[in-house]
């Protein structure tokens, strides 16, 4: 029997208000030491899903799921304190907005150190030593100097490196990275992604990487989930997905260059005419049908979940 996945989420739902569900039954599985990429248009629920896993949703958001397990342990019904102990220790997260994600009032050193002192019985100095070591690891020179600096003294790329180093303070098993490079310029993007890939190889980290960049997916993903309007419409190993995309939406995304290794870094997702519909409660059928070239009458009624038995799943009448 294969080892249980590190993160196993089934049927995740999130709603912010009575009418609209932002996430409608998402399944996500992250294996130990692997990279799972989530792609999809803006607003399809990628950030909300990942925040829901971390228990970091804004107040007022309602989260439910069939189950949500981290290392076999149920984290859905976990108390606030128990979840706090897990967060930042065994699962860590970095965000889309490096410019604002660090507290302007505290030094880099103090912010990094508290991530370790919160979870481990170590002194401040030991924590700072660990922080310096990690800053070096993420490619920051003169770590001693940086530790004494404040966020506003650092560039966006440096701040994102600091965020990554801070996430690694407790040696987490899972790192959730929500579009970690979107706000950075292109050369820096490449560096950060290379860094994440190297860190994964070195530390055996599992990464849930949310991205817009298909080039990134092609290069570092083991598994890919494609999200559309609050659902995962297709999920497969990266090789399978690029070789034989099944969902029309995925096909549209990959449109121009569906071969791994041939997609240039920074390519935008293929653009598909139309916009994401507003999915109100009581909506049935496929959310993509209005934009789909293969739409059939039954698409308005239901969508079957298809599974080829080898881990390639998609939501569509076509197989």
């Amino acid at each position: 029997m294969p080892e249980a996945p590190l993160l196993d989420v089934r049927g995740l739902r999130v709603r912010f208000n009575a009418q609209v569900e932002a996430v409608r039954g998402v399944d996500l599985t992250v294996e130990r030491g692997q990279t799972h990429c989530v792609v999809g248009e803006s607003g399809c629920g990628k950030s909300v899903s990942s925040l829901a896993v971390m228990g970091l949703l804004a107040r007022g958001a309602k989260r439910s799921a069939a189950h949500m397990r981290f290392d076999g342990q149920d984290i859905l019904g976990l108390s606030d304190t128990a979840l706090q102990r897990l967060r930042g220790d065994r699962m860590a997260m970095i965000f889309q907005e490096p410019m604002t994600s660090l507290n302007p009032a505290y030094t880099i050193g103090s912010q990094m150190a508290e991530a370790l002192t919160r979870h481990r019985k170590v002194g401040k100095q030991q924590a700072l030593d660990r922080a310096a070591e990690l800053l070096t690891k993420v490619g920051i020179t003169a770590p001693g100097l940086r530790l004494a600096q404040y966020p506003h003294q650092l560039s966006g790329g440096l701040r994102q490196r600091v965020m990554i180093a801070m996430a690694l303070m407790c040696d987490p098993e899972l790192l959730i990275a929500d579009e970690p490079t979107t706000a950075l310029d292109v050369t820096v993007q490449a560096q950060i992604l290379r860094l994440l890939r190297d860190l994964q190889a070195e530390l055996g980290l599992a990464i849930l990487l949310i991205t817009h960049d298909l080039g990134v997916v092609a290069r570092i993903a083991h598994k890919v989930s494609v999200m559309y309007a609050g659902e995962v419409v297709e999920s497969a190993s990266a090789t399978d997905l690029f070789a034989a995309p099944r969902h029309p939406y995925t096909q549209g995304l990959l449109g121009c260059v569906p071969i791994p290794g041939k997609i240039k870094r920074g390519d935008p997702l293929g653009s598909i005419p139309g916009t994401v519909p507003r999915i109100a409660d009581g909506f049935t059928g496929c959310g993509f049908r209005d934009r789909c070239a293969h739409a059939m009458p039954q698409c308005a009624v239901s969508v079957p979940q298809r599974d080829d038995g080898a881990g390639h799943r998609h939501l569509c009448h076509l197989s």
């Binding site: 971390m54 997260m93 660090l102 919160r118 801070m166």
Partner: protein, 305 residues
């Protein structure tokens, strides 16, 4: 940092000069000072004597320049009522007024900060609405009326606190509370607003992602950023409170600078009035300067560019 403070200090000096001019002008514009000092029964001769004695017969510009020069050399003039140097009068009454002002500020902050924080943490819920409603009601209630209520109930009926004089420390409680009262709603709203923003910020999300406890997220990461505008306004409010002490000290019979001001205004002791206005303004300016410095301590972006 030094540049920032130098700019603020320069600004303070300019404001100071303006205040000198205004407090001078106010006492001279309120009528013929010599006539007022001499009183209703005085003859023209008496008035002339007074005018000469206080140098009021000189041109206004000369009076102003000589007064500024005196002030600059630390001489605030003499009270004709007490026949004593004004500087000494103020100095002897200062402890009472400062204690009163600080008591007021501490009480105001002890009420405003926790209430603002709790309201922000419960934004939009019943608790938040309730707290904000009390704040509005509080703002609508005149503080002299509250003062009277407190005096009647706590002082007279239940005899819990003294209602006049400051022979013991608890004499400061009632007047301090009344002073604090008008400052609470503004400080509380500011705290709440700052905390609501801070709690919704990306860095607070990061703090939560690190697994920090709720206490540390709120009190360390959010409050530090929300506190900056509160500090500035608290300094201003303390200035208002010192000004407000003119009324409160007369009501509660505290012999402080405020009482001195009230007395000298009603008896036309113009050197004292001038000096007290100047003095309160100076404190006010010093407070804002202090708040700027304190903010620079709180916010590294002001300190290090």
């Amino acid at each position: 940092m030094l540049k920032f403070l130098a700019r603020r200090a320069l600004l303070a000096v300019l404001v100071m000069l303006t205040v000198l001019t205004i407090s001078f002008a106010l006492t001279r514009l309120s009528g013929d000072v010599a006539v007022a000092m001499a009183g209703p029964q005085a003859t023209q001769q008496d008035v002339d004597t007074i005018r000469k004695a206080y140098g009021l017969d000189r041109p206004l510009t000369v009076q102003f320049v000589s007064w500024v020069a005196d002030v600059a050399s630390g001489d605030l003039g003499r009270s004709y009522l007490y026949h004593a140097p004004v500087g000494e009068l103020i100095r002897s009454r200062l402890p009472v007024t400062l204690t009163l002002g600080l008591t007021g500020l501490v009480i105001a902050l002890c009420l405003a900060l926790p209430l603002g924080i709790v309201a922000a943490m419960n934004e939009g819920r019943v608790l938040d609405r309730g707290i904000m409603m009390v704040a509005v009601l509080g703002q609508a209630m005149p503080s002299f009326w509250l003062g009277l209520l407190l005096v009647i109930w706590l002082g007279v009926k239940w005899q819990l606190l003294p209602i006049s004089g400051v022979e013991t420390w608890d004499g400061y409680v009632l007047p301090g509370f009344v002073l604090a009262f008008s400052a609470v709603p503004a400080l509380m709203r500011l705290t709440r607003g700052g905390m609501v923003d801070a709690l919704a910020s990306d860095y607070v999300r990061t703090a939560r992602a690190k697994g920090l406890t709720r206490f540390s997220v709120v009190m360390k990461h959010a409050l530090r950023n929300a506190a900056m505008p509160v500090v500035a306004v608290a300094a201003v409010q303390l200035g208002f409170m010192l000004g407000g002490s003119i009324v409160i000290e007369s009501v509660f019979a505290l012999n402080g600078v405020g009482y001195l001001a009230w007395e000298s205004i009603s008896k036309n002791d113009f050197p004292v009035v001038q000096a007290v206005v100047l003095f309160l303004a100076t404190i006010y300016i010093a407070l804002t300067l202090l708040a700027d410095m304190f903010n620079a301590v709180l916010d590294p972006r002001l300190r290090i560019s």
